[in-house]
């Protein structure tokens, strides 16, 4: 028998979702290990929302299945939700209930509710608890949603684009709160986001969904080792043909120089061409290169 600490919080196997003839997800398979922060990235319409809905047992997949802590989420949603905290893309608490009433509602459903922690969190962000949830600012709603998700001391935190529509300060606050939780309890996190710069310092592993398929599923370290960005000047120093052996992605030329992302090891190229230099590759650049280039990439 697998112990709680060894169980994979998320095990997605050959997941498929269709809406009529439209394929939203096709054979998506990935695993999130205990204590990991898994960031699922994808453009709008890539299938992220369908995947999160299946992950939370809101929607039954057409094929495949998702297990949370080795239990099928569709069949065991109720019991699993004791161990899962969720922040939805759109804050979905009832708008007419005050924050205090929402807290009371949730507190009554969880035996392990961390009332003091939730209270402290809301006070830290000066969220007025007597105001209806619908009248809070977007940043305050995000903080309340995060506090509610962390309230039951979850083993798995599912965050569906939690920083959507937030200003830079509110975004930072959400990430700081998340970092604090990770440092304190080592909670496993599954996050979908468009805020690639924000998640880069947090994520251990990254999945990139594109047109319903999981294009990439790898650790951030592996990705950065596998894909290298190079730049050169002047622009005419290198041609696309010269880079063919290295599998260039997103070849770009400007008046001052050129840059591209290579799939292979660029060491021979660097040795042969002193005008070529390795540059830092951010997660955002990698995402734009992979998804924008519409390239088939082996995960």
């Amino acid at each position: 028998m697998t112990s709680n600490a060894e169980m994979n919080p998320v095990d997605c196997h050959q997941l498929g979702v269709r809406y009529g003839r439209m394929v939203a997800l096709e054979e998506v398979t990935f695993t999130v290990a205990p204590g990991q922060v898994y960031a699922l990235l994808g453009r709008n319409g890539s299938g992220k929302t369908s995947l999160v809905r299946c992950l939370l047992g809101h929607q039954k997949p057409c094929s495949g299945h998702i297990e949370l802590f080795e239990q099928d989420v569709w069949a065991s949603r109720r019991s699993l939700m004791h161990r899962v905290g969720v922040v939805s893309e759109e804050p979905d608490a009832p708008p007419t209930m005050t924050t205090r009433q929402v807290l009371q509602f949730c507190a009554g459903l969880y035996p392990s509710w961390d009332a003091l922690g939730v209270e402290a969190r809301l006070q830290r962000f000066r969220v007025p608890q007597e105001l209806p949830f619908g009248k809070l600012s977007r940043g305050q709603k995000a903080q309340v949603s995060l506090a509610l998700a962390l309230g039951p001391r979850p083993s798995l935190l599912v965050l569906d684009d939690p920083t959507l529509g937030l200003d830079a300060v509110a975004r930072r606050e959400v990430y700081d709160e998340l970092l604090g939780e990770l440092a304190e309890r080592g909670t496993t996190v599954f996050i979908t986001t468009h805020d690639l710069a924000g998640i880069e310092g947090l994520a251990d592993r990254v999945g990139i969904l594109h047109q319903g398929r999981l294009l990439v599923d790898a650790s951030l370290e592996d990705l950065k080792a596998r894909y290298r960005k190079i730049g050169w000047a002047p622009p005419q120093a290198l041609r696309l043909e010269d880079l063919a052996p290295y599998g260039p992605l997103g070849f770009r030329m400007g008046s001052l120089g050129g840059e591209t992302v290579l799939q292979g090891d660029p060491a021979p190229l660097l040795a042969a061409r002193p005008e070529v230099q390795i540059q830092d590759l951010s997660l955002e650049e990698l995402f734009v290169t992979l998804v924008g280039a519409d390239t088939e990439v082996a995960s």
Partner: protein, 268 residues
């Protein structure tokens, strides 16, 4: 307790309905006071108050039923409940309880002020009051379930609507034919029994369909609609078959009309 938590959540979101009902009751109360001949007005107003309360309670139940889940689904708020450790039955039951309670209280608030003033309630025995309340509650429950199913069928905009329309059309056509057969032999009492039986059976079907919409459809409106359609179509067909069997049995075992009996006797 979880069921009541869902009920409370629903009530907080719709407490304005109760305020509106109270306002309606007070308006009738004021109208009664302003009447130049209060003695005569009391009887009329009392009857009107009960009728208004009944209609109002049922209207609230129908409106609540039409929005209790489909509004949450459209506004993408249903996830809030699904993300809690609540069983689908608790969610559905909590919502139904909230709707029936809200409808009942709304009706009561809408008719209570004029009834208290006119003293009409003192003329009624416990049995009458119980009957009125029973009718309110039962009617509210049936309307709530019916409008919930209809709202899911309409809002999902899927092709299953064709099956819904066909099933309901077949059902009403069948009920009409069965009723005509009973009316042809003056079986009005049997017809009333048939209708009551059909109403109870269809209401049970609606309750099962509503529950399946939540448990099997969850946040997926189209899938929920499919379950509602399949449940309702099979319920309506089965209920109709049951009704047909009842009519056949009734016609076979019903004592023949007096004239026919006399004729049969003479021939013998």
């Amino acid at each position: 307790m979880s069921v009541l938590a869902v009920t409370r959540r629903e009530w907080i979101g719709r407490r304005n309905v109760l305020l509106l009902s109270l306002g309606m009751g007070l308006l009738q109360f004021i109208g009664l006071h302003l009447n130049p001949d209060p003695a005569q007005a009391f009887d009329k107003t009392s009857f009107l108050a009960v009728a208004t309360g009944t209609m109002y309670a049922w209207a609230v139940a129908a409106l609540y039923g039409a929005t209790m889940l489909s509004r949450d689904l459209e506004e993408r708020r249903f996830g809030f409940l699904l993300n809690q450790p609540l069983h689908e039955a608790q969610i559905f039951l909590g919502k139904v309880l909230a709707g029936v309670g809200l409808a009942f209280l709304s009706g009561l608030l809408a008719c209570l002020p004029p009834l208290l003033l006119s003293g009409f309630w003192r003329q009624l025995g416990m049995r009458e009051v119980g009957s009125i309340m029973g009718v309110w509650l039962a009617g509210s429950l049936v309307l709530l379930l019916l409008f919930h199913a209809l709202s899911i069928q309409v809002r999902s905009r899927s092709l299953w609507l064709a099956l819904d329309l066909a099933a309901w059309a077949l059902f009403f056509l069948g009920v009409r034919l069965l009723s005509l057969r009973l009316m042809a032999v003056d079986g009005f009492r049997e017809m009333a029994h048939l209708w009551l039986g059909l109403l109870i059976a269809v209401s049970l079907g609606l309750a099962v369909a509503g529950y399946l919409q939540v448990s099997e459809g969850r946040a997926d409106l189209q899938r929920g609609h499919r379950w509602v359609s399949l449940t309702m179509a099979s319920t309506l067909v089965l209920v109709l078959l049951g009704g047909w069997a009842q009519v056949v049995w009734t016609l076979k075992h019903r004592p023949a009309p007096v004239q026919t009996q006399a004729r049969t006797h003479r021939i013998r």
